[in-house]
């Protein structure tokens, strides 16, 4: 089903006319209210009035995650705090999360786009949605929650964790739609099996999965194990949260970007040049309706491609290819963003100098695991085993505190971490995505 037929199936010409009007209004507003954008546009020698066509967007400078960090916490807000009704923050960045705000109207827009997304993924009024995305600063839980209410479905705000209780709720409440990260979904399936509960006996029909990279193989596995249709949802807090783009269950071939609210571009990450439809590059988003936290040409670092071909579901909005990787070294571990540099900063604090280290990411029993290998040099070494074990514990605890992910720290002998051209290989990702 399509939640907003008028906008979601709008002919592209009309859609583009709306995009241009909304883009121009957004640019005028950020230029007037956000010093960061005013400075950036002036430096690039351009004013909003010079943006006469959608193609002119290419003349504007990019916004990066570093820009958001530099303006921590509220420097990028385009409205007074009086008008901000909600604040979310992205998971861990080197000691400084990126903070985003929403006006009441932004929450309305987000709810609408999440309602559209849930509908595209197979949900409708009368459905019961089991929402296992985490509630909190992370946008996943509340994003789905407001969308479900807007759609008129029943929502179970179960959040993450306490897996056995979740299985009992699934059995007793009979939810028909599952929203969760793909890895947690497979974990749910395993725990259910251990408890002697078969998903085939549950009432699930559809699942809407995202917040971490996953693959076609994983989709197959989830669909088989849970006996449902699984679709991919995309979003990031900097742009809005979940519901920036959604796969339709009819085609399951690329995610429709809600183009009446966002303009998507694909660029060459090295040159910054905009690439034509179909070519693979870095996704860049411009929000054109957001009030509190508009972003202009925000570089997501996610790798994708855009496909404007008409879709069998009837939606006219361009489809982005399932995200296949990142242009930076960011890892997503159990839904948490992790940069190797953050681990390095933890190790730096232990002794003032970062030893050689390596992050090994695996997927065991369908849950991501992070191991941190640390080479023991003379500064870290002790003749007492207890001290070395305490060191492992301390590093592990510091990582958990800073990043919110559990890491198994393993001390290894010097020069055992592989180096290529003298430089240590920092990350080994064994997850087959």
């Amino acid at each position: 089903m399509i939640f907003n037929i008028e906008y979601e199936t709008m002919p592209r010409e009309a859609l583009e006319a709306i995009q241009l009007r909304r883009l121009q209004a957004t640019l005028e507003r950020v230029y007037a209210t956000v010093p960061f954008y005013q400075e950036k546009f002036e430096k690039a020698g351009i004013t909003p009035s010079e943006i006469k066509t959608l193609k002119d967007l290419q003349k504007l400078p990019f916004t990066t995650k570093q820009d958001l960090r530099d303006n921590y916490p509220f420097g990028m807000f385009a409205v007074p705090m009086d008008n901000v009704v909600r604040i979310h923050a992205s998971s861990g960045t080197t000691g400084q999360p990126t903070v985003v705000g929403y006006t009441a109207r932004d929450i309305g827009t987000w709810s609408e786009l999440m309602a559209r997304s849930l509908a595209a993924g197979g949900a409708w009024r009368g459905d019961i949605i089991h929402n296992a995305y985490g509630y909190g600063l992370f946008t996943g839980g509340l994003g789905v929650h407001y969308g479900a209410e807007k759609l008129g479905a029943s929502i179970i705000p179960v959040s993450g964790g306490n897996t056995k209780r979740q299985i009992v709720i699934m059995k007793d409440f009979g939810p028909t739609i599952l929203t969760a990260t793909p890895s947690y979904t497979l974990h749910l399936a395993e725990v259910a099996e251990e408890m002697g509960v078969s998903f085939k006996d549950l009432k699930f029909k559809f699942g809407i999965f995202g917040a971490e990279p996953w693959s076609e193989n994983m989709r197959q596995e989830i669909e088989n194990k849970l006996n449902i249709t699984a679709v991919d949802i995309y979003g990031l807090s900097e742009v809005m949260g979940p519901g920036v783009a959604i796969e339709c269950y009819q085609a399951k071939k690329g995610l429709h970007v809600f183009e009446d609210h966002f303009i998507a571009e694909i660029i060459n990450p090295e040159t910054g040049d905009v690439l034509p439809y179909g070519e693979v590059g870095e996704l860049v988003f411009t929000s054109i309706t957001k009030e509190a936290f508009p972003v202009i040409r925000y570089r997501t670092r996610d790798i994708s491609a855009l496909n404007p071909e008409p879709c069998i579901c009837g939606r006219s909005h361009v489809r982005m290819k399932r995200v296949s990787g990142r242009t930076d070294d960011m890892l997503i571990i159990r839904g948490v963003n992790v940069f190797p540099s953050q681990i390095e900063s933890v190790l730096m604090q232990v002794d003032g100098v970062a030893p050689h280290y390596q992050l090994v990411v695996d997927r065991k029993d369908n849950l991501d695991t992070l191991s941190v290998l640390v080479e023991v040099d003379e500064k870290l070494f002790s003749d007492e085993v207890r001290n070395l074990q305490n060191l492992e514990k301390k590093i592990s605890k510091d990582i958990k505190e800073l990043l919110g992910v559990s890491a198994a720290v393993k001390l290894v002998e010097p020069k055992t971490i592989a180096r290529s051209e003298g430089k240590a290989v920092r990350v080994i990702d064994n997850r087959r995505l």
């Binding site: 023991v376 070494f381 003749d383 085993v385 070395l388 001390l411 010097p414 020069k415």
Partner: protein, 143 residues
Amino acid sequence: MKVEQISVFLENKSGRIAEVTGILAQAGVNIRALSLADTSDFGVLRLIVDNNQRAEEALKQHNFTVGKTFVVAVEVEDKPGGLHKILDILQKENINVEYMYAFVQPNSNNAVMIFRFEKLEEAVKMLQKNGVVVINGDNVYTL
């Protein structure tokens, strides 16, 4: 009165101790005493050798992490209650033993134990006060 001990960090993999003993053999270093403390992932090999400098250099050349610590070598009567007598003194004086291990060969009629104390000087003083023979470092290396 202090004895210098070298310690080596080892991952818990087969053949690692043999690697160390091989390097020491090649360097012409004689092992006087040793102990291994381990966890499931790693171990710490502690050694008393006849030539610390040569041992350290050889091991470092092979990328091992080597530490140096001072320990105490104590003569222990080779009869029932011999070790207990010493531990009893330490307990009464409230001195904590971090770890201990036995020497490979006895010194005349007595056994030799290596002790690692946090408060080394204090421990030596107490042992000597109670009539325990603490062996001089130079004598230990060539014992």
